[in-house]
Symmetry: C2
Subunit: 247 residues, 2 copies
């Protein structure tokens, strides 16, 4: 038995999220269908670094699965990409130690959130960026984001009614990149709570619009209360970009 | 009565082309639906510079229509973009002389054709670029394209069984732009026959792959025979970029 680790990308537009669900098209279902075909009808479990919600994209999601087949990695790459639907691509695959676990062994993740600040949004970006017509004060957003850096209880930035008890996480980096009308937020940390990046993006959007002050952020973190933070930003602006493991 | 000229963009992925068709979602149908709503149930004809096929995109299609309403242009822009589906956007609108005709008065058009040369195509570009894994000799494609410049009978680059009799057109410019893994062909001319840009793109792809020599192109043009040219390249790589009118 071999354990394989694959890095995959998917366009979240056509999926009800990553995780298997009855009667829904999900990334996990599509992956399992293809692995079942390759394994001649035998069901193969797929483990991802974590779920992503409906409409959320991934450029560097990581999965693992076990196989008894001895196909070279180039053969796996080709077979998976031939059999998978075009909105999921496997970008790399490698054999890993049998102890590797795509979910339990993550040491960090990078997410990207994209806004389109055009007056009229392009029909080509409508599923890939969140449209904000109002001018955003990016310097204020940058300043506000500094309050997130470090190790904090991120309860204010976690969807209510989640089962997770320990809400302490570490954020290493929050950066804003401007590319013409596009604004990207890149956020990197040890781990993220449910909806955490989207609540951060939503709260920082309110800072950018002048509805909240940059200085309020440390108070919002300290409140450890979901109601203290801003709205959850839309799913389709979010990309899971990198999953880190101890090398 | 006023005549309005609008420049529109659409993502062709979700349309059975521009032109109205029974039981199909087309750009013209969506435009007419919205104009009917604005005109309180009165049907308004919409004239475009020309049709585009299913899956073909537009960044600068031009349409005209007549209205009895006296709304300022900013109001038209807002109303149309609120009512239209997100995969069609109106980028500008202006009042023009009643003699203006979006189709009959065109003096030229620019199209763009996009290839993605990544080894593994991104799930985000699958509907917007044509994937070519094999290396393309772009210099050979550039050299071959020179044979198209000028005024020629373009019968070799026109879908067979078309009703058009005069197949003489003038091409002013064919340029190739490389942006990392993306390859774009920009082609500008007085007018284009049915499938002309796609047959040119397909034939030049064959040159790029080494299946045809650049020097063959002038012979292909001279043959004035559709069978002399290469395959029709896929629709989803094609963009109608600019429509020109006498100013």
């Amino acid at each position: 038995m071999k354990r394989l680790k694959a890095t995959i990308a998917y366009d979240g537009s056509g999926f009800a999220g990553y995780q298997i669900q009855p009667d829904s098209r999900t990334v996990q279902v599509e992956l399992m269908k293809v692995l079942k075909t390759i394994h001649k009808g035998k069901v193969t479990q797929v483990v991802a670094s974590g779920r992503t919600d409906a409409k959320v994209h991934a450029t560097g999601q990581v999965i693992h699965f076990d196989t008894e087949f001895s196909i070279p990695m180039s053969g796996w790459l080709r077979a998976l990409n031939v059999l998978l639907p075009e909105d999921i691509r496997v970008n790399s695959i490698e054999e890993v130690d049998a102890s590797f676990h795509a979910r339990y062994h993550t040491t960090g993740k990078t997410y990207r959130y994209k806004w389109d600040r055009s007056q009229i949004i392009s029909p080509f970006t409508r599923n890939y960026m969140v449209h904000v017509k109002q001018p955003l004060d990016v310097d204020a957003m940058r300043a506000a984001a500094q309050a997130l850096i470090g190790t904090h209880d991120f309860s204010s930035f976690c969807a209510a009614n989640t089962a997770v008890v320990d809400k302490v996480r570490t954020i290493w980096r929050v950066e804003f990149e401007e590319r013409g009308n596009e604004l990207h937020m890149v956020i990197e940390g040890s781990g993220f709570l449910y909806n955490m990046v989207r609540i951060i993006a939503g709260t920082l959007t309110e800072v950018g619009m002048g509805r909240r002050k940059a200085e309020e952020l440390s108070g919002i973190v300290a409140a450890a209360d979901r109601d203290a933070a801003g709205k959850t930003a839309a799913a389709h602006g979010l990309y899971l970009e990198t999953v880190m493991y101890q090398s």
